[in-house]
Symmetry: C2
Subunit: 169 residues, 2 copies
């Protein structure tokens, strides 16, 4: 199950790159500097676009790392262009590609914590369902919403990506 979800995270991050493509096309058509979008916000006290993309990437890598007990790659949050964000996404996709089913054999019962929890912890299973999963989709959907709000032509198919539909029996 955890590996299936990592594959879905990977797919969603791949779709995010498609949204970035549409953002660049839109900027070119409307003759504005595409990197302006990195500072777009839905509210003045919410993280801007660039931080939403970084957060989506971080949740994906940290969920994989915490549930497997492996080390996560470090990213210094210095991206200033859509191309650099694309590279960040690619780096996380490459990291996710290194996992296999056996890496998550003990995922459900691992102790997961982070500094802001001040010593408290969650089981891997609780962390996954209550924190990792909703946070991942929170940030990916907010990235999508920011582009949609700024007139970028993205639709539900770009959000979901290709589906494994089977032919009528």
């Amino acid at each position: 199950m955890y590996l299936s979800m990592m594959r879905q995270f990977r797919k969603q991050l791949t779709q995010m790159k498609v949204w970035l493509d549409h953002a660049q096309t839109h900027a070119k058509e409307r003759s504005f500097e595409s990197n302006v979008l990195l500072q777009a916000r839905l509210a003045p006290d919410q993280f801007p676009f660039v931080r939403q993309v970084q957060a989506a990437c971080d949740v994906a890598k940290l969920v994989a790392a915490r549930l497997s007990g492996k080390e996560a790659p470090s990213h210094p949050d210095t991206e200033a262009t859509l191309d650099e964000l694309r590279a960040r996404i690619d780096s996380v996709i490459a990291y996710l590609d290194g996992f296999s089913e056996s890496d998550f054999a003990e995922a459900a019962t691992r102790k997961v914590s982070q500094p802001r929890w001040e010593g408290k912890w969650m089981t891997g299973e609780d962390y996954f369902f209550q924190h990792g999963l909703p946070n991942f989709y929170f940030h990916t959907t907010t990235v999508y919403a920011l582009l949609r709000h700024n007139g970028v032509v993205v639709g539900k198919r770009d959000y979901l990506g290709p589906l494994d539909l089977r032919a009528p029996a």
Copy 2:
């Protein structure tokens, strides 16, 4: 796993009611008619707030129904107030409460389809990971984003809800 996810859907819908509470408080403080928010949109060609709430409810009930082979309750999409949306959410929560582990025993291998797929289908497992799960969070996060964009005071804790944090060992 599917039952764990239905519990998480249930939790997220419960949090959505908290966001609606904050929306009503905000409207009262700013002296505007709270139901105006139902027509809020992030883009002119995206579904408004009311439809996003309805869609989140529908995805939750349809995932549960399709993966269990049970009938989903019908909702005619007539909500015109935040209170009516709250009742819609409550109805779906009550439906989700009726499921147990055994209902999803064959979930992964069920054939899932919907009219717009014109006879094509997905396995329950593919449908869940590729369609149901991302769609559920798409609509819940968009609901949250719309409120945030309209100045409603909601934060990440309202999004995630309470976490099963355990005391330091």
